[in-house]
């Protein structure tokens, strides 16, 4: 008997995955060459699962700014801002974020995970209610667990279900906080934000939107789904990360609420952890400027997303319900998903293997994330390779045996018609502890 015995079942499941070939949780690249390519065991692979949406990790202006800050301010802050003080460039990035979103205040955290942990656990207190989408990211679930509010899940992307749950609270005292994401990380679907904002107004709740996957990706100025849906006036808090489109690490929250800054002395995941190194702050500040100056980045990302989504759709794969930089392919079983993922890595393509229960509807997924840095040729290589392996493994019919599927497949999308192998029935499974990506 040891204290780790409780993980026996998990260990067993992990060993099954490992025994099929590469270990998906410990892929170790010899070298990362660019936002879209790495070397693995001496072989070039296309990176198609790294959330590097705008391809800014190697942007020369971002790298230059980081180097400059590194030379000037050193390697780290060696502590939190309340203990070791705020460096000038932390405050400058917060001003830039607030200006970008047009909000009164912005607060930078050391990761996006910590931003959710900090904001959710602090702004909703005992006697308040948090209403979260059932498919929320793990950091949202964990932020709820860290605080003292009552937490209620509503059905994924279902404003009517949200309204029903708000109405059940009747006149219970306390504030209500609704939490949704801009783009959901597993299937790439967006929240119906206009409708959710209407529910928020009707019930006089607060609304928080996590734009982790949509900052710099959606909206004509890159301000995410909140901008695209035209609901900026209804959103009280936007949380985001620097670890995806901005190519570094870190998280933030912006808000228009007066007194937001009091959170700096109330929010424990902000107060009791070291602040980001100045070099990271510098590259993020520059990446944010790139988002604002160069709408071409978003345009290229969108072209690549369309190309991959429509290319795979035409081959008969079952994908998420809408085109987005996250393109997820439904797998008929966990065994096929693992085999497919290994075959792709062998053929020079790295993407994410997502297994239940971390996926919606209990469906194993191959999840890819497109980058503005992918070339059209890379996307075409990806489509051809996925199609060849998909035919071989029986995930799609071989081309010669395929009926014209454009009519038939209407509605046959992940998150709409939710088949299970051999059952054809509708399931509404959703993760309990949140999505990992």
């Amino acid at each position: 008997m040891t204290i780790l015995d409780k993980f026996k079942a998990l260990q067993g499941a992990y060993e099954t995955v490992q025994s099929a070939g590469h270990d998906p949780f410990t892929v170790c690249f010899d070298e990362v060459l660019s936002p879209s390519e790495a070397v693995l065991k001496g072989k070039r692979v296309i990176l198609l699962g790294t959330n590097n949406y705008l391809g800014l990790t190697f942007d020369s202006s971002c790298v230059d700014k980081a180097v400059e800050a590194l030379m000037q301010a050193g390697t780290g802050t060696t502590g939190s801002r309340i203990a070791n003080g705020t460096y000038g460039n932390h405050a400058e990035l917060e001003r830039r974020l607030a200006a970008f979103y047009g909000t009164r205040a912005a607060m930078v955290f050391s990761t996006g995970y910590q931003a959710n942990l900090g904001i959710l656990s602090t702004i909703a207190g005992r006697g308040d209610h948090i209403l979260i989408d059932a498919d929320s990211h793990a950091s949202i679930y964990d932020g709820c667990r860290l605080g003292h509010a009552e937490v209620i899940r509503f059905r994924h992307n279902d404003p009517d279900d949200l309204a029903r749950r708000l109405s059940r609270l009747k006149d219970a005292p306390g504030n209500r906080l609704i939490v949704v994401e801009g783009i959901y990380s597993m299937l790439g679907d967006t929240a119906p934000l206009k409708e959710i904002a209407a529910v928020k107004r009707e019930w006089n709740a607060h609304l928080l939107v996590d734009e982790a996957h949509s900052l710099g990706v959606l909206g004509s100025n890159g301000r995410g789904l909140v901008e695209q849906a035209g609901v900026e006036a209804d959103v009280d808090f936007i949380v985001g990360t620097f670890s995806k489109s901005l190519g570094a690490v870190g998280g933030f929250c912006v808000s228009n609420l007066p007194d937001f800054d009091v959170l700096r002395i109330a929010c424990r995941p902000y107060m009791f952890t070291a602040s980001l190194p100045p070099s990271v702050i510098a590259s993020v500040t520059q990446a944010l400027a790139r988002v604002q100056e160069d709408p071409g980045l978003r345009a290229r990302l969108n072209i690549n997303a369309q190309r991959l989504y429509h290319g795979l759709e035409a081959e008969g794969f079952i994908l998420g319900p809408q085109v987005s930089p996250i393109v997820s392919i439904r797998m008929p079983s966990t065994e096929v998903a693992i085999a497919f993922w290994n075959a792709l890595l062998g053929a020079g393509i790295y993407l994410n293997l997502a297994l239940p229960p971390a996926t919606p509807d209990n469906a194993p997924l191959l999840r890819s994330s497109v980058s503005a840095a992918h070339s059209g040729t890379q996307i075409d290589t990806v489509i051809a390779t996925i199609t060849a392996i998909g035919s071989e493994l029986g995930v799609i019919a071989p081309r010669s045996h395929r009926p014209d599927m454009t009519e038939e497949r209407q509605g046959d999308l992940l998150g709409e018609v939710l088949w299970q192998p051999g059952q054809g029935q509708r399931h509404n499974h959703a993760p309990v502890t949140g999505n990992p990506l």
């Binding site: 209610h129 899940r153 609270l169």
Partner: protein
């Protein structure tokens, strides 16, 4: 106010319709351990139950629920809070 035993009967009936469940549940059945449901299936069953009784069971309360009796008591308590 609904009686606890009525709620237990409804819950057992609803569990009987779940495709994954083969055994007949009793009031002392441990929901997570005895029914072969994964945590996901449990959460989704709870959502159905919430709709059936028109209550929301906060997630921290769920953590303390083990048996069908516990679940029924939580539902009864939540219903009892709101006079109908």
């Amino acid at each position: 106010m609904t009686q606890n035993s009525d709620i237990v009967d409804v819950i057992i009936g609803m569990i009987g319709t779940l495709p994954q469940v083969t055994e007949v549940a009793t009031p002392d059945t441990n929901i997570a351990r005895d029914l072969g449901l994964d945590s996901l299936a449990v959460m989704n069953f709870v959502m159905q139950l919430e709709d059936r009784f028109d209550v929301s069971i906060p997630m921290d309360r769920l953590a303390g629920i083990q048996t069908i009796n516990d679940l029924a008591a939580a539902v009864a308590d939540l219903k009892g809070r709101s006079p109908e």
